[in-house]
Symmetry: C2
Amino acid sequence: MTETGNKTDKDNSIGVVETQYYTYAGPGKEHNLESGEKLGPITLAYETYGKLNKEKTNAILALHALSGDAHAAGVHRDQDNVGWWDDMIGPGKAFDTNRYFVICSNVIGGCKGSTGPSSINPVTGKPYALDFPFITIADMVHAQRHLIDFLGIDKLLCVTGGSMGGMQVLQWVASYPERVRSAIPIATALKHSPQQIAFNEVVRQSIMADPAWREGNYYEYGQPEKGLAVARMIGHITFMSDQSMEEKFSRRLKTGRFSFGFDADFEVEGYLHYRGANFVKRFDANSYLYITKAIDYFDLSGGRLIPGGKAIDTRFLIISFKSDWLYPSYQSQEIVRLLKRKRVDATYCELSTTYGHDAFLIEVEEQTTLIKHFLDKTFNGYLVVSDHGI
Amino acid sequence: MTETGNKTDKDNSIGVVETQYYTYAGPGKEHNLESGEKLGPITLAYETYGKLNKEKTNAILALHALSGDAHAAGVHRDQDNVGWWDDMIGPGKAFDTNRYFVICSNVIGGCKGSTGPSSINPVTGKPYALDFPFITIADMVHAQRHLIDFLGIDKLLCVTGGSMGGMQVLQWVASYPERVRSAIPIATALKHSPQQIAFNEVVRQSIMADPAWREGNYYEYGQPEKGLAVARMIGHITFMSDQSMEEKFSRRLKTGRFSFGFDADFEVEGYLHYRGANFVKRFDANSYLYITKAIDYFDLSGGRLIPGGKAIDTRFLIISFKSDWLYPSYQSQEIVRLLKRKRVDATYCELSTTYGHDAFLIEVEEQTTLIKHFLDKTFNGYLVVSDHGI
């Protein structure tokens, strides 16, 4: 998740919202993880927007990216912290809360209210740190399924998300196809390429190179600030495009002249410093390690997205962005090709924005048009047979 | 500079070579730097290959990239450290040492025998560290001009280099056009884009975030190993392409299975670790800071490459690589457009390799064809009037 810095448009915002918490997998009922380890109890932070209809057929699950949280829309009471997808979720928006019931669930492994490495380990009474078990995208989705069960929803109208959110979308289809009427994976991939793994590994190395990381046991002392800031700066380069950086910063100098030293001379350097410093205040370093590794392990290529001869009736809308070089369009096209081979109803659209990977958060208008239309047709019960090849 | 890891083909290698040193700007004759500071004495490490002809018209100056050195071809006695451009410089090669006299000069600010931050400051008797004055690409080229004067060469047949080497090529033309008969800038740019600056700044932040950097005063204690290794890992991602990483590593695992931990699982991670650890042994952290900053400051756009109505008779061959996303082809095309507007003889070729930025070191065959032909025509005295638009 990256931050758009957008202000809420008060007239069509969902308004004040509250984060809720669901806890399960208590003593003796621990969740079995893909690694073979167990985790419990598990708390999931989540928010909901709009109302679930009587038939429970209007529920949409929105899933966040790497550093996101459950707060996707609206604001919290007495705060101005607009949700990360507020431009997309609300009355009349792409995910129209006048019509749909939107749920956003934070992932396990994170640090935004759900159980993760910074949570208290019930065995020791201290933060888990690296004793937290290794988690995968399938584990995250397994936990979300418990939440959806708890909310009494049998079949989700749609599962959607960008970047790692899109991986969770694909995992929902792989794990629980019968519970997903439609899926909108955005700016994502069936698996990380070696280049994507390489960026994540450098991010991890940057955190672990900081002596303040203390092999993960930093909770009494404070975050490994410098390593985590550098890690996030690397991320921010990959979230933007060459062109969007040129448009936003060009070679403008912070003070109008060269310092002939090692301070930030260029505005783009100041931007990276700001983003790095800001991130340290809001995100746990160990969570960054766990979640990036979960992303790198994720692989639904080959027969893993739709195993065997399984017929699934989930409809897909796949969106990518031309200037996104972190999750390039060819990776979305691989998803489309795989679905077509399995005769799954899939519509693909590449949007020609300059925003790079950040576009899934910023490029609102075109995404809204596509998504509104797609959801409308899905909600009206597959009235149109197929919509291949927009 | 990246490492090709190629073995010398003994049959057409230049063989055993020796690094030489030229020192000037002694007490009272210090070099005036662009920053307004002074530097002296200055030592330049350099090597030469082939023989200077009687007329002194066959000299080619080869300039290295960020972490390169004077050792461009052959091997040193009793060692097997092949020069960084050995595939391109030697008998019968692109820069044919049977015909031409090739000089490779290390840059000031570096740590490979030329004066830089790890050199002894004559005032204190200790390494300069951050007391080393700030240097620019123009300062590097100014020092090289002193070396060329010392070698008694009035006009260079050609100045060539890739990446930062290409920036020095452009700076030679901007500073001393009358001394450059032809120029071959490869995989380079008139100026860094904000994305390129951003990568360099993250590299610097990674070094400076390491407490072992000690504000630059680490020489008694050893390098800031962890920060410098992370910095270099970032570099190596940008030197390769998405496709070349896929071809070289794909998602292959080091041990055939996931570790469910934070060790290197994927081969690409192991590669980065190796490159990072190796770099720490061979390159000074402060030099990396100084040189990346010199690159970021470099800007010969607008009227700076060829000032005013100045007519220059330097011929250009500009080469870029399709898969190079660190120095994308549009940046080479900007050089070409600028030269054409000034009616300078310029030939441009984009080679369609998958190697990314590393191609200037690896993609030997096609570069050789282009360069041999271009040098041949240049050396034969402009027999052909123009060669626009290959």
